[in-house]
């Protein structure tokens, strides 16, 4: 009974809590954070239940008001959307638990608007993933974007300016996407993705279809921070408050990557995309450049959050590269990397939040041996996530890179294989220098201070989410065969 209504229920959970939080928050602001945790917790349980029932019964199409497409609008819960929903809601659940203390110190008195905005952002992300209608996708895109601008503007002094630049670039991208939708609508006369996918092959040579594809990929590429369009990302992630970054960084770009998957694999189909315009080649090359550029820029940073932001540019490149390979191995590798990167990046940004909470900064040049003694569990979580990011087995990060590498070999694309290998070495450079500072190097002048350092770990509500995400990396690593078997089933060809 509940299965057939799941797609709408997940989105409705966030609508309900976006209303409940201001209602209760006016009465007692301290209820906001627990309510947000409960909301995302319910959504995570529903998504897990939905994904398990998808594995047994197959995809669900939910028609709103009983009107069937193309007249009505629908939510589609298939393998791809189910997988993404599960990943983002679970990660958001842990980040929201963590934000309790961050909220008290970084933006006191603004808890109620903050968590209401967080719920709206999650509503937008979930809606973008679930909807089966291109115009609704635009609306949900703007809901999530507007909420993200607000979330990013809460933070250090330059945060509003970073948020404003993101707003200008993001809205221009969203508008380009809308223009692409308009072109497709004039050609096919429908907005439903499944309906349009059936009609598009007969219009493949139409110039407006080519233009539509290019506009949509560029517009969504802005949101995904695909290489030349990533300009908004480093400042936004650096200046926003720790909990906003930890919420948006693992989720926002993933959702945009999901839309690219949806457009390339489901709406146009790989053969048609390549027949229309060499989009997969172009985004593959851009992703490859982005992987190297992001890694090199990350090495040059001395601020941990900024370093992680550039690392995100690089990691989103892996996902897009897996998409551009357009074979089952690349597809599974990219989806596994979506899961891995969401968990790894959330864990790393939570560690940055923990350090900011205790030290007041996350400047890598000030890291030293005393951190190991002061924050044993935080630094242990950081090490696990960093090693996973570099890609050493048995941690999760190794396996997604492994499948991506197999995918490039399958396509005989030796250039991309080299990029994956080289960037893993670059990742090692910028993560191991932190590990070296914390675990190996013992600067003489701080010798006394380092030995005197007392254990000063963050509170349990921050430590537990960080550690759970780190442990999850081991679990995903060991369970990778089972996960990949499911991902191969999702591949649409």
């Amino acid at each position: 009974m509940i299965e057939s209504h799941l797609p709408a229920l997940i989105a409705l959970t966030f609508v309900l809590f976006a209303i409940l939080i201001p209602a209760f928050g006016l009465w007692k602001p301290s209820t906001s954070q627990p309510l947000a945790v409960v909301g995302s917790g319910i959504a995570s349980v529903l998504s897990l239940y939905g994904f398990l029932s998808y594995l047994q019964t197959g995809s669900i199409r939910y028609f709103f008001g009983g009107w069937e497409p193309p007249v009505g609008i629908e939510f589609v819960y298939d393998g791809l959307s189910g997988f993404f929903i599960l990943v983002i809601n679970t990660v958001a659940f842990f980040v929201l638990i963590h934000s309790r203390h961050v909220a008290r110190t970084e933006y006191p008195g603004k808890e109620m608007p903050y968590f209401a905005l967080a719920m709206l952002a999650l509503l937008g992300f979930n809606g973008m993933i679930l909807t089966g209608d291109l115009f609704n996708l635009y609306v949900f895109l703007e809901i999530s974007s507007l909420a993200s601008y607000g979330l990013i503007a809460i933070g250090s002094r330059p945060a509003p300016f970073a948020a404003f630049r993101y707003l200008i670039i993001g809205t221009a991208g969203g508008t380009l996407y809308l223009l692409g939708v308009g072109f497709l609508y004039t050609v096919t006369g429908t907005l439903n993705i499944i309906d349009m996918a059936a009609m598009l092959p007969s219009f493949a040579t139409d110039t407006s279809v080519v233009a539509a594809l290019v506009f949509m990929v560029v517009g969504i590429g802005v949101k995904a921070a695909l290489f030349p369009l990533h300009g908004w990302l480093p400042d936004s992630y650096t200046f926003a408050s720790s909990s906003s970054t930890a919420l948006i960084a693992p989720i926002g770009t993933k959702v945009a990557a999901y839309i690219l998957f949806r457009i390339v694999f489901y709406l146009f189909g790989v053969e048609l995309t390549d027949a229309v315009a060499p989009i997969t080649t172009v985004i593959g090359v851009l992703a490859a450049i982005g992987i190297l550029y992001g890694s090199i820029m990350a090495i040059a940073q001395t601020e941990m959050k900024r370093m992680l932001a550039y690392s995100s540019v690089s990691q989103i490149g892996y996902i897009i590269m897996g998409l551009s390979l357009a074979n089952p191995l690349g597809f599974a590798g990219a989806l596994l990397h979506v899961l891995n990167h969401a968990v790894m990046k959330a864990c790393l940004f939570l560690v940055a939040g923990n350090l900011r909470m205790k030290e007041g900064h996350s400047d890598i040049s000030k890291f030293d041996d005393s951190y190991r003694k002061k924050y044993p569990w935080t630094m242990a979580s950081f090490s696990v996530a960093a090693i996973s990011m570099v890609g050493l087995p048995p941690l999760a990060g190794f396996f997604s890179k492994w499948y991506l590498a197999l995918g490039t070999i399958d396509n005989e694309n030796w250039l991309f294989l080299t990029v994956i290998l080289v960037s893993s070495l670059l990742n090692a450079v910028y993560f191991f220098r932190i590990l070296e500072k914390v675990y190996m190097m013992n600067p003489k002048k701080d010798q006394k201070e380092a030995t005197d350092a007392k254990k000063d770990e963050v509170s349990a509500s921050m430590l537990i989410p960080t550690s759970v995400l780190a442990i999850a990396l081991f679990v995903i690593g060991f369970a990778n065969a089972a996960i990949v078997a499911v991902l191969f089933d999702i591949f649409p060809m």
Binding site: Y138, P160, F161, F164, T171, A172, L178, G182, Y185
Partner: protein, 122 residues
């Protein structure tokens, strides 16, 4: 050739408007002017949708007893207009957020010039 230009005059208007908007976004240094450029850019897409739905000699999409329902060419397509209502609301909301951010920036830095702001942040 002339027919090509005159026959698509609505689209040319949209393209020119879009270029004006993009120019504002890319080259204006004042953040308020950038926001105005963004608004023009959004409106150009709204006008594109409105122009594709317009027809000569067609009536409003309400059933008229004189025109059989089968003669779809005599009725306007209401869908693009309805979609644009939503898009306009989205645009208004975006502008609202943009102006709120501008107020926060001005309160913190006392300027809205992009160059000065960038220097201040460095």
């Amino acid at each position: 050739m002339l027919d090509f230009f005159l026959g698509h005059y609505a689209y040319w208007f949209v393209v020119i408007l879009m270029c004006v908007g993009l120019y504002g976004i890319l080259f204006k240094k004042n953040l308020v002017k950038k926001t105005i450029g963004l608004a023009i850019f959004q409106v150009s897409v709204v006008l594109y949708f409105v122009s594709i739905a317009s027809k000569w000699d067609a009536t409003v999409p309400v059933r008229d007893s004189n025109i059989p329902v089968e003669q779809v060419a005599n009725y306007l397509n209401p869908l693009p207009h309805t979609l644009m209502l939503t898009a306009i609301v989205v645009g208004v909301a975006t502008l609202g957020v943009a102006f709120t951010l501008l107020m926060a920036i001005y309160n913190r830095y006392g300027t809205l010039d992009e160059q000065e702001l960038l220097e201040e942040i460095q």
